[in-house]
């Protein structure tokens, strides 16, 4: 057997790490996936190669996140290896060692936001975002699309790229009114400098293969085509599966494989997925085969034949309408709309709950409205574990005005004693400092 498209699989199951021995995010999670891949002889297939992750550096994390009080307080080695796995996956593709790559790593990351005080939704640092920022720092890549097919809305990834018009974030997920974290409604479309580069498709419970593939065909693929990214990343969460214990969808391994085939992502990253025996072995196999351009038509769960996964007609009708509405909202973003005059801050107040670590955070996020660049970002944050802290980000491609504004904010913050910790992300001078 020979892969049509060479594939690097960065596999790291962290067999000695768990959030808690009985937690879904535990040692056993990728055990049966490894058994299945080994029994299939997947790493003997010509063109499919297994790789070891790297270790993400302090700089890799500080380039992406504001971690308070510091990176080492909110991460463990497992997080740095998991993020290092995505970096390895990216490097394999961008160095043209393989055509595509799949980071089959844990723990996941898509609920980790720009500011990190601890773990939420089993995530500490956002492993896709760390990868995206690594790519932008080291390769001449500008436009990146992230398609998140995890069942939970990737509120962390959305938060990080809310103001970034060069990153298109599309999420297909179970409607937030019925599942954690609750966000991801269709009207969430991005900040004033990046309207229309955040797209949410909240699918109703019991959506089957038919509904997912319809949303892919009608919404995801056309918007991707329109955006024309240099690289496509799939946040390949696997908890839409009909057997997942913590969600309510009816997606199958075969559906995941077809979606992977349609999306044709350059890099896939494992996110959630907690049906570790009944789904993950088959979904991961399906994704691997589809990415390598191999036949996946015999990949079915053992109980697939006896399950009735036909989608209810009402659900089909609802999804059709939903697709139209999302597309309509997307088109509206292209029209001129009211926004603040350049040179002013657009301010959001956010309350964030960290379910995994039980932390409450209050945030005041200000973005400079700018028609030259992505705009300087300022976040004031306080939480049940940290006093008031400040994060300042001068984005890549920042205009002179935004650079100067960033340093003015820094000088001002350091002159006073309002903030316990201040972190600067200066992408122009590659300066990532915690004061």
């Amino acid at each position: 057997m020979k892969a049509q498209s060479s594939l690097g699989v960065v596999f790291f199951p962290a067999f000695d790490w768990a959030i808690h021995p009985l937690h879904p995010e535990r040692e056993e999670r990728l055990l049966y996936t490894l058994d299945q891949l080994n029994e299939e002889g997947i790493f003997d297939v010509e063109g499919i190669t297994q790789y070891k992750p790297g270790l993400a550096t302090l700089e890799d994390i500080m380039r992406t996140h504001f971690c308070f009080p510091d990176v080492s307080s909110v991460t463990t080695e497992s997080h740095l290896i998991s993020a290092g796995g995505t970096i390895k996956a990216a490097a394999l593709v961008l160095d043209k060692i393989v055509n595509k790559s799949f980071a089959l790593v844990r723990p996941p990351g898509h609920h980790a936001m720009k500011v990190v005080h601890g773990a939420r939704g089993f995530c500490n640092i956002n492993i896709e975002a760390v990868m995206v920022e690594y790519i932008r720092e080291n390769y001449p890549v500008k436009k990146i699309a992230i398609v998140d097919t995890d069942c939970h809305h990737g509120d962390g990834t959305q938060d990080i790229y809310w103001h970034d018009k060069d990153i298109l974030y599309i999420s297909l997920h179970q409607d937030g009114r019925t599942l954690y974290p609750g966000t991801g409604a269709i009207h969430e479309l991005g900040g004033p400098n990046a309207l229309g580069t955040t797209i949410n498709i909240p699918l109703p419970p019991n959506t089957s293969d038919e509904g997912f593939l319809m949303a892919m065909k009608r919404v995801v693929l056309p918007i991707l085509k329109d955006f024309n990214p240099d690289i496509i990343i799939n946040s390949a969460g696997q908890d839409n599966h009909y057997s997942d214990p913590i969600t309510n969808m009816n997606f199958s391994a075969s559906g995941y494989a077809q979606l992977t085939d349609m999306l044709n992502a350059d890099i896939a990253v494992l996110e959630g997925g907690y049906s570790i025996q009944g789904a993950l072995p088959y979904v991961n196999l399906g994704i691997t085969l589809a990415m390598a351009g191999l036949d996946y038509s015999y990949v079915h769960e053992p109980d697939y034949a006896i399950k009735d996964l036909t989608q209810d007609r009402e659900i089909t009708k609802y999804i059709k309408k939903l697709c139209d509405k999302v597309l309509q909202r997307y088109e509206e973003c292209k029209k001129p709309s009211f926004k603040l005059m350049p040179g002013n801050y657009d301010v959001r107040k956010k309350e964030i709950y960290y379910d995994t670590d039980n932390i409450h955070e209050m945030q005041l996020e200000s973005i400079m409205v700018c028609d030259q660049c992505r705009g300087v970002l300022k976040i004031e944050t306080t939480s049940s574990v940290n006093p008031l802290c400040l994060g300042i980000e001068i984005p890549s491609g920042a205009c002179d005005q935004c650079i100067n504004e960033g340093y003015r904010l820094l000088d001002h913050a350091l002159a006073g004693n309002r903030y316990k910790y201040v972190q600067l992300i200066d992408r122009i001078n590659k300066k990532y400092v915690m004061y």
């Binding site: 056993e28 080695e77 015999y298």
Partner: protein, 556 residues
């Protein structure tokens, strides 16, 4: 006394090791059409002046099965394969009589669909009608539940031979299990008639010692075991050299072994003195197998590699077009380059000079430049291949944070050089690698010495599922009940005990039963928010090495 024999591509080497070290050795040409002939001739050569009754152990490394597979001199095999969720088993079709039987077992060993007995009966009838007498039976995840394989074997009834997948190895890998079982059956008849003949010939010489066969992992198995597992005898040649090097040098550090012959250079690596083992198994005839093997790599650079010039670029290898000019060949080779530079003084040096002069004239290059460039090129190829192999080993995947952070990194300190041109190349190799090079005594028959002193090796994987109260050691055919409270410590004890039992049945001396636990895992299996059992895996082995008695003789 220990007799070791290694049938190589060119020569068959034999030694007898006695109390004073190597007491007899022979090197004769291999007779590929009739291996038995060069083997019995070798016995004659070394046994002439020794008392055959004093031989304690005979170890043989032969190319019989390897050649049969590569030259496709195989018997037709009835293949019965049953799949399961995943890649379709038709993708691994091998031979002309490959039958897929419906039936599925999943990764936990749960039977998902029953074996289709109607289909099976039909396939069996077809095979028997076609006169097929030997079979291989493989089901997916049979190392987690061997029932389907056992049922098919039972239905096949009275046939000459059946290879059953789970008995080959405890490892997961369906395609490799299929290929390995196929080859095991395909060479069975040929191997058995050969092995009986060898045993007969030894008896005729008055040798009553147990006879063992060398495997690619550098260990041996008793002849009678190899008669049902003939595939274990493939590609044992490089392993013989590795074990031989270990026997001749006391290796305790990270090191590289280079066995430079006429056509090829074999590379092997040592970590803290132990030879590295290939993760899954060896590849033969473009098929991956589950036959355990040392990690070795063969590259096309040797003493007889032809010197080639393209414009002003001088290269050599991988072709060999006969011998060097010094030995009467028609094309200048590395040996000739060494002759010209006076690094060696080998046979007819004037012919070497003649050959390089002709090349020089044709491409307007000086003889010294060509010779130097060719040797530099050869050294570079060897160096780069060794470095790539080390890099690959150091980059091999690990699955725990502990291994990720604490994992062993190989950094060789010494190069052990054996083979024909070893001595003459040692300075060049030392300079290229910037490392200490050692060339052991008797290095021309290191392979036969390796065969003579190799100990018996076994690897098992124990798999315990306490939710189902089931313990399996597939290749020992252990399939038994365990209590729900079974622990990892119990599993380690059981693995060792079953291993000792098995080694005893193999007749392995108590001193040679050094069991090493390679990997242990114990996972909590959780359903909802409750632990429902443990999934335990223990892998242990007797690792390849040298018989203790021989260590005393060889003083290592």
């Amino acid at each position: 006394m220990y007799l070791g024999l290694d049938v190589g591509g060119t020569h068959t080497d034999t030694v007898i090791i006695g109390n004073s070290g190597v007491i007899a050795k022979s090197k004769i040409a291999t007779t590929h059409d009739n291996l038995l002939s060069c083997i019995t001739d070798s016995f004659s050569a070394v046994l002439a002046n020794v008392d055959p009754s004093q031989i304690q152990r005979v170890n043989l490394s032969t190319t019989l099965t390897t050649n049969a597979i590569i030259q496709n001199k195989c018997e037709k095999v009835g293949m019965f394969v049953s799949g399961g969720p995943g890649i379709h088993p038709a993708s691994y079709s091998i031979g002309n009589f490959y039958y897929i039987i419906d039936g599925q077992i999943d990764h936990r060993g749960t039977e998902i669909t029953l074996l289709n007995l109607k289909q099976l009966d039909k396939a069996i009838k077809k095979c028997k009608k076609k006169g097929i007498k030997v079979y291989a039976v493989i089901s997916k995840f049979s190392t987690r539940n061997p029932e389907h394989e056992q049922l098919i074997a039972q239905k096949l009834g009275d046939v000459d031979f059946i290879s059953v997948g789970h008995k080959i190895s405890g490892n997961l890998n369906f395609p490799r299990r299929i290929a390995t079982a196929y080859y095991n059956t395909a060479v069975w008849r040929l191997y058995n008639s050969f092995s009986y003949a060898v045993a007969e010939s030894l008896r005729a010489w008055g040798v009553t010692a147990p006879v063992n066969i060398l495997k690619a992992d550098g260990g041996t198995i008793p002849l009678h075991i190899s008669q049902t597992m003939p595939v274990e005898s493939i590609l044992s040649g490089p392993a013989a050299s590795v074990i031989g090097t270990m026997a001749l040098c006391n290796i305790t550090e990270d090191a590289v072994m280079l066995d430079i012959g006429g056509t090829t250079c074999d590379i092997a690596l040592f970590a803290d003195g132990a030879p590295l083992i290939e993760k899954d198994g060896i590849c033969i005839d473009d098929r991956n197998t589950l036959v355990r093997s040392l990690k070795t790599k063969s590259i096309g650079i040797g003493g007889d590699s032809v010197i080639k010039i393209n414009g002003t670029t001088v290269t050599t290898g991988p072709e060999r077009l006969g011998m060097s000019m010094a030995e009467g060949g028609n094309n200048p080779t590395i040996i000739d380059a060494l002759n010209v530079l006076k690094t060696i003084n080998f046979m007819d040096t004037s012919r070497s000079m003649e050959g390089l002069l002709a090349l020089g004239k044709k491409y307007r290059l000086s003889v010294d430049d060509i010779a130097n460039a060719a040797i530099t090129y050869a050294m570079d190829v060897i160096y780069n291949e060794v470095m790539a192999m080390i890099e690959e080993v150091n980059a091999r995947p690990v699955y725990t944070i502990y291994e990720f952070l604490q994992g062993k990194v190989i950094k060789p300190k010494t190069i052990y050089l054996i083979g024909g041109p070893a001595k003459t190349l040692s300075n060049l190799i030392a300079r290229r690698f910037g490392l200490n090079v050692k060339v052991p005594q008797h290095c021309q028959v290191a392979n036969a010495i390796g065969a003579a002193v190799a100990r018996t090796t076994v690897e098992i994987e124990l798999f315990a599922d306490t939710q189902r109260c089931r313990l399996l050691i597939p290749n020992l055919e252990v399939n038994t009940r365990i209590p729900a409270g079974y622990t990892l410590d119990n599993a380690i004890d059981d693995a060792k005990n079953y291993m000792i039992q098995y080694l005893t049945t193999l007749g392995v001396d108590e001193k040679e039963r050094e069991i090493e636990i390679v990997d242990t895992y114990s996972f909590n299996m959780v359903k909802g928010f409750e632990t429902v059992g443990k999934n335990i895996r223990v892998r242990c082995q007797v690792k390849p090495g040298i018989l203790h008695q021989c260590k005393d003789i060889l003083k290592i």
